[in-house]
Symmetry: C2
């Protein structure tokens, strides 16, 4: 078995199978292209499997063979972008990668995530709406990353705080903020403020 990587993102769905047949590959490309178009031009929640199949010019069963629902298709499209950021976090240059102060790394992470959300909001809305967000491998990755920063910074109640700090990055929250006419820069600034204040820049022992 080829065994694709995906230990962290856990998205087995997209794995371009080893000896993929030419027509299968062709259809995969058609599906992804059509889905990207659909998600971009319409509310993500209204995109059905039928829509994607029709737009791609394939039968529904063909679509179901690889993707159980529209969210999986969106996730497949999103995967590479998320993986790029994940590599930056692990081994890129500071402040995104290791080496900088936790507060700065968190701020950089927020900035990068806002950029990702801004560029691919339709896809993210299609992929991770509601509780589904927590089931994705990506969330596990962000969580582990921020948790590490919290440990390093000596914050209290780490396990509860980590999800609190990730909550503002939920796609629907970001979408709402943008609809409220908040510019991406404002949102980034607010998140960076949050990062700076939650993680004491100097040694600031916490007094409950």
């Amino acid at each position: 078995m080829s065994s694709r990587r995906d230990l962290l993102t856990g998205s087995p769905i997209d794995a371009p199978a080893r000896g993929e047949r030419a027509d299968a590959a062709r259809n995969r490309a058609k599906v992804l292209a059509a889905a990207a178009k659909l998600f971009a031009e319409r509310d993500a929640r209204t995109v059905t499997m039928e829509d994607i199949a029709t737009a791609a010019g394939v039968g529904r069963a063909t679509l179901y063979r690889r993707y159980p629902d529209p969210a999986s298709v969106a996730r497949a499209l999103l995967d590479e972008h998320e993986r790029a950021l994940q590599e930056q976090l692990i081994s890129g240059p500071p402040p995104l990668g290791p080496g900088a102060h936790p507060a700065d790394r968190l701020a950089a992470f927020y900035t990068a995530m806002v950029k990702l959300l801004e560029q691919h909001l339709p896809l993210v809305l299609g992929a991770e709406i509601g509780p589904a967000r927590f089931a994705t491998g990506a969330y596990g990755f962000w969580r582990a990353h921020v948790r590490g920063l919290l440990v390093e910074s000596g914050a209290p109640e780490i396990d509860a705080l980590v999800d609190v700090l990730l909550a503002p990055l939920a796609p629907e929250v970001y979408a709402f903020q943008r609809r409220q006419r908040n510019a991406p820069e404002q949102i980034t600034a607010a998140l960076r403020t949050l990062a700076r204040r939650v993680m004491p820049s100097d040694r600031a022992p916490d007094r409950p």
Copy 2:
């Protein structure tokens, strides 16, 4: 007309329309009772209008007469609890009501919201999952409240920050944290830490 019975019987939680007929009131009560039971014992997303109607012993059309979807039913059940908290925020004693330091008021608000979420999580999940959360009047209220506190505390980027601070209270976030075996007290503690750190206790003018 007249018919002012809701304070005593407590049955018509929803708007007891002027001159509501007896059979209508009876059905309203049956629907709400049945819905409360359903939401409590099953995943909110799986509760359909059909389910509620059947459990309440009324026809679907009768249900549709008042509620366009299951979320509306949950919201009707939730309404009185939220309104109680809203009154506390407006005119209750500090630190929940006016008079305390913004940081303390935000911390008290977080504590109260966690209590609300803990007590009525099934209903909240049924009422406000995903983007629907922002469409509710309640969100507008929490938003206005926290925004006022931010103004008072002199925080920067208020309009973006307010949604950031409310994001951790999204029902699905709370539900996820509880599934992760975080106790309500831990979550409250994390949120109170957040409140304290975001709002400088002393006058601390912000330097971008």
